[in-house]
Symmetry: C2
DNA sequence: CTGTTAGCGCCTTCAG
DNA sequence: CTGAAGGCGCTAACAG
C-alpha cells in the first residue's frame, strides 16, 4: 500500500502552511482569503487527500465512535435495536462498533476494555450483570454509558427497556379473553436474574392472580435454551397440560414451534400460543402468530439519543434513569381456538 | 470523564523510562531485568493502565481493524457470513466495523471513504458494482480487499461466492425428480447485473434445457422486492401457472409465502417450493421448506482468511481470484406433492 | 538491559 | 488573514 498523503502535502501544493489547511478542513473559513481557500480546495481535489482520523482522534481525544455490546445477537430484538441506533448515530456522524458478548461475562469484560482502549466516546450495552465493578468505575469516571433491555440494580445508569410486566399481562389477558384457561409460560434461564425474563414471569403471575386464576408452578419453565426442548416436553406430559403457552422471547418460540410441529400439536386449536417479541415470520407462519411486540425502533432511537446527549454534555439532571416502553399486542391466529380464516 | 493515565505515568511509577514500558507492553521481555518487569507489572495493575490504541495506531500505521460493507444486511446470508468473519478476526485480535450500504452506491462510497479515513487495515465488501473507480484505485494502491457474493468484472480482486448455477441446477433437478414440470423462478431485480441473481437465472435456464424442458419467459420474474408481490400474482394468473417455484433468496421467499398464504395455495401440493439460501424458520414452517443452502460459515471463514493473509503479506501469487463454493440441497416437505408425514 | 530521541498526522494557541 | 511551534500517547532505532 502506497503511503497516504498528508496535510503537509496539501499545504505544500497549495503553498500555504499546514495550519491553514487544518483550519480549512475544520470549516473555519472566517478569516481565510478566498483565493487561499480555493487553492486549498484545488490541492485537496488533485491529490485526492483524505484526512487521517486516527491522528485527529489522538489530538482531539474524541473518536466519533461509540461501542454497542449486546448480550446475544441471536435475538431479533438485538439486531432491530442496533439498526435503530445506527440510524441516529449515522445521522450525527458517529460510527458504531458492534460486539456480541454471547452471554459470556468474560467476553463482555474484554469487549468493554477493547472499546475503551479504542477510545470510543460512549457505550451502549445490554449488560450481562456480573461486571458491576467495571460499570461502577465507568460511572465514577463519568463515562457516557447507557444500558438497554436489562437493569443492573444500584447503578445510576440510564436504562431503556420494555415494560415487561405489562407485556405479560397483555398476553395473559388476551389468552383468557379467547377462552384459554391453563396458561403456561416458557422462558430462558433466570438463574442470572436477567431482567426481562424475571419481570415477564412476575407479570405473568400477577396477571393470573388478578384474573383469579391459580399459579401452577409446573406451568412455568425457565431454563437454558439447550434444555428447553425437554422442559417443553415435561409441560405437555403433565396430567393436565396447559391449553396455552406464552413464549418468553423469539428463541424460546423456536423451541416451542419445533416441539409442536414434531408432535403434531395444532397451534390455536390444541394449544394457544402467544410470543413476546415480534419475529420476522409471524405473518407467514401457519397459523400466523399472535405477538406482543416491543417498540424496538423507538427504543433504539431513544437509547442512542440519550447517549449522544451525554457525550455532548447536554444532560438534563432532572431525569429518571429508567425509561420504560409499552408493548403492543398484535393479534393473529395462533390464539384463536377456531382456526380463523384469513382476513 | 477524568483524564486517562498514560505510559508516562506508568514509567514514573515504575521508575523506568517510557520506552521500557512500551517494550513491556509489546512483549519484548528478552533483555529486560526480571525486577524491572515486575515493577512495571505492578505499576500497571495499581494504576489500572489501559494502552491507548489510537496513539499506537498512529505510530504503527495499522489499526488491527477491518471494515465489512454488505450490500444489504436484511439477507440472512449477510448476518451469517458476518458472524463467521468476526469469528476468525476475533481469534486474530482484529476488530471489525460493519456497514450496511442498503444497496445504495452512494452510501457504499461514503462508507469506503470513512473506513479508509479510519485507517482500517483491509476491507471485505459485497459490492454494489458502480464504484469501480474506487475499487480500481484501491487495487492500484495494493490495499487489502476481498469481495464476497458478487463479482465485478475486470478487477483483479479475490472474490468468494457461491456456485450459483449449480444451486439452480440442483433446485431444478430436485423439482423434476419430484414430479414438477412447470418450474418458475423468482428473484429480485437484475437491472444492476447482480451476480447471484443473474447466475441463478442462467443456471435455471441451462438446467431446464438439459432436462429437455422449454424455457417459458413468463415463468421468470426478476423485479424489485417492492413490486414482487404483483409479479408473483402475475405468475399465478397465467393461463397455465407453474406447478413449482424456485425462490431466488430469502427476501423473495417472504413475498412468495405471503402470497401463497393469502391465497390459500397449499405449498407442496398446489405448488412446489424450493428456496436458495437457508432461512431460520425453514424447519418449523408448515410445511418445512426445502432449501439449497450456501456454506455461509465456510465462505465467511475463507473470506476473512484471504484478507488477513493479504494484510500480513502472506499472499500466494499462484491463486485464482475466484473462489466458488458448492451449495447443499436440504430436502424437506415443500417439494413433496403428497404432504409427507413428519420423520 | 535501559534511556534518549525523534517522529506518526493532526490541531491549536499565539504571534505576526 | 496566515504561519511557527508544541504536543496528543505511543513506538522504534540507536546509544549507552
Amino acid at each position: 500500500m502506497t503511503l497516504r498523503i498528508t496535510i503537509a502535502d496539501v499545504a505544500k501544493k497549495a503553498e500555504v502552511s499546514k495550519s491553514t489547511v487544518s483550519q480549512f478542513l475544520n470549516g473555519r473559513f472566517e478569516y481565510m482569503g478566498i483565493k487561499t481557500r480555493t487553492r486549498i480546495e484545488k490541492a485537496i481535489k488533485e491529490l485526492d487527500y483524505q484526512p487521517n482520523v486516527v491522528a485527529r482522534s489522538l489530538k482531539k481525544k474524541t473518536t466519533s465512535t461509540i461501542g454497542i455490546i449486546v448480550a446475544n445477537i441471536l435475538h431479533e430484538f438485538s439486531t432491530q435495536v442496533i439498526r435503530a441506533i445506527e440510524n441516529v448515530c449515522h445521522k450525527n456522524g458517529i460510527s458504531t462498533i458492534i460486539c456480541n458478548a454471547d452471554d459470556n461475562p468474560e467476553k463482555e469484560r474484554i469487549y468493554i476494555e477493547t472499546l475503551l482502549a479504542k477510545q470510543v466516546d460512549g457505550l451502549i450495552v445490554v449488560p450481562i450483570r456480573r461486571n458491576s465493578d467495571i460499570y461502577e468505575k465507568l460511572v465514577d469516571e463519568n463515562f457516557p454509558i447507557v444500558f438497554l433491555d436489562r437493569l443492573v440494580e444500584g447503578l445510576p445508569i440510564d436504562t431503556v427497556l420494555l415494560d415487561n410486566e405489562t407485556a405479560s399481562r397483555i398476553a395473559v389477558n388476551h389468552l383468557i379473553e379467547n377462552g384459554y384457561e391453563r396458561i403456561s409460560i416458557v422462558t430462558t434461564s433466570i438463574i442470572e436474574n436477567i431482567t426481562p425474563r424475571v419481570e415477564r414471569i412476575n407479570g405473568y403471575k400477577k396477571a393470573l392472580e388478578s384474573n383469579g386464576l391459580p399459579i401452577h408452578l409446573d406451568y412455568i419453565k425457565a431454563m437454558d435454551i439447550t434444555q428447553l426442548g425437554e422442559g417443553i416436553n415435561e409441560i405437555f406430559s403433565l396430567r393436565e397440560p396447559p391449553d396455552a403457552i406464552i413464549s418468553g422471547n423469539d428463541l424460546t418460540l423456536m423451541e416451542i414451534l419445533k416441539y409442536t410441529f414434531e408432535n403434531n400439536i395444532e397451534i390455536g386449536k390444541d394449544v394457544g400460543l402467544i410470543t413476546i417479541d415480534e419475529v420476522s415470520f409471524s405473518q407467514i407462519h401457519n397459523p400466523p402468530l399472535t405477538t406482543v411486540a416491543q417498540p424496538t425502533f423507538q427504543m433504539g432511537k431513544e437509547t442512542a439519543t440519550i447517549l449522544l446527549n451525554k457525550i455532548n454534555n447536554k444532560v438534563d439532571n432532572q431525569h429518571s434513569f429508567i425509561h420504560r416502553y409499552k408493548p403492543t399486542l398484535i393479534v393473529r391466529n395462533s390464539t384463536q381456538k377456531e382456526g380463523v380464516t384469513n382476513e
